[in-house]
Symmetry: C2
Subunit: 306 residues, 2 copies
């Protein structure tokens, strides 16, 4: 049975509506997304920012602000600190970027007093529903960590496994990707992929199955795996988590999927934080923003349950 964002949204409805704190909310794309998230029963929003501007934009969108809490804070940095503190204090279940620039938004996330640090490594996960693939794909890291070390890759896996669980994947299969499916000392990423596999076999990485190095076809296409005779592999075209060698490979595959695969759906969050962080970009569609809020909501529920 095909798994997709509809299932994620259905899951949120089961676990009860969440609350998202929006940092510098005077942005039409963000307000449209939180309006839809509220309509769908995914999340209520606390809008922190310039109240007059928020009301003006909402009016231009025919958006009824009844039921939205607004906290007036015209200064962007202050607004981000106020918004993140709501998440820090448990008054909000997720934290979302508004029109503030990414650098200052991340500063609020990392703020030592009111931010969302846990002591771990932050990483990004992009979740995809692809028409020809019956399960969700979790791509990491395509946007945040640039050249993750082996240790950081362990953190990335540990950050991403709970996201899979939140989406209903009990024991995700993790594919550390390379151009090839065998270890080649001249390609350090294949050596690291094998090390991650061993760490999982020896119980240093838990809650998932790691099998690498893998080429992308063996990771996502059961037919290709069969054709190449990969019958002894733990992953045979059925990977859940695609762990990329670096941000260039990850970002380029991510963008190939967004811009070339008709009918794909996606949503992204930042993980490794106290609560899920929604860091959508200007170029994300309305649907992606709503999907990201839904994704953050199921992850927030998973973290709450612990």
């Amino acid at each position: 049975m095909k798994q997709g964002f509809e299932d994620i949204i259905a899951k949120v409805k089961e676990c009860g509506k969440k609350t998202v704190a929006v940092s510098v909310a005077q942005d039409s794309a963000v307000l449209e997304a939180v309006k839809e998230a509220k309509r769908l029963g995914i999340a209520d929003a606390i809008l922190v920012g310039d109240e007059a501007q928020i009301r003006e934009i909402a009016a231009s969108l025919d958006m009824d602000l009844t039921g939205f809490e607004i906290i007036h804070e015209p200064d962007m940095i202050q607004a981000s600190l106020t918004a993140v503190k709501l998440a820090h204090d448990g008054k909000a279940d997720m934290y979302m970027k508004g029109i503030i620039d990414t650098k200052n938004f991340l500063k609020s996330v990392l703020d030592k007093e009111v931010g969302l640090r846990t002591g771990g490594v932050l990483s990004h996960v992009a979740v995809f529903e692809i028409p020809t693939i019956d399960h969700l794909l979790f791509l990491t890291d395509v946007a945040f960590l640039t050249y993750p070390t082996l240790e950081e890759k362990v953190h990335i896996i540990n950050n991403t496994v709970p996201v899979c669980k939140a989406c209903g994947v009990a024991e995700p299969k993790v594919a550390p990707l390379a151009a090839v499916e065998v270890v080649n000392p001249k390609m350090p990423v294949t050596v690291e992929a094998a090390e991650l596999t061993k760490m999982c076999e020896e119980g240093q990485i838990t809650g998932c199955i790691v099998d690498g190095p893998l080429s992308l076809d063996l990771a996502i296409d059961p037919e290709a795996a069969k054709h190449k005779g990969a019958t002894d592999r733990k992953i045979q075209g059925d990977a859940d988590i695609l762990l990329f060698p670096d941000i260039h490979a990850g970002n380029q595959v991510y963008k190939a999927m967004v811009h070339m695969v008709p009918g794909m759906k996606n949503g992204c969050i930042l993980t490794g934080t106290k609560v899920p962080v929604i860091l959508t970009s200007r170029s994300d569609t309305f649907e992606t923003k709503v999907n990201s809020i839904a994704l953050a909501a199921v992850v927030a529920e998973e973290m709450r349950k612990g």
Copy 2:
């Protein structure tokens, strides 16, 4: 007007049928492809290998061997040297891998006496027709060079520009890709991309327009380029050549396109050699093999003229 493999095949018919020398031809997938290439008027083939086995496989495929030259050479290494010499001596216009392993096939390509060296760097190009994109995309290097240096990237561009020209793209636009579209000293690939751009502006790289670093969306999606306000860029979603940072990024995007984009068509050749080399893999479809022969044929014609 959409450009695709049909146009490439039409072009071969204009320039006249070519001849492909096949190295160790006793392979059903390869024989089926050369049979189709002959039927379409793309190329005749000289089949070098074990004649009895070739005839047996052809019979099992209902393939009429009339019009195919067969050179009996049961030893694989000898067969590859005999076949590559045909291309070296100008008796064949392209050289194609049969059932011989890649390592020994490449040894024949690089053979100092009868091989196809030109003194330059060899590189691979994968040409794609994507339903939602109206021009061909030339991906390089997704399969051969692992971690190209700046100098090797110049060679890759110089190898790939004639392939574009052969396919009707007079002055291709080259996008050296990264995760971002601005130079960041912490990401060496962005620095190299900017250097390639400058080298082209200063006339050290000719016959094309280079603009990098570029993220994949700005390289292939005019809407994304417009949305991000990239109006001062030489490439605004209309790149022809996608130059990848390394083989991992290239190979993973290549496989994402092959395994996730419905209706895509592709073909691949090795360039930087005296004649185009067709090095398809077991996992390539029949159509990809035929497309690769057609691609090699137009490139052979371009090299003959040029």
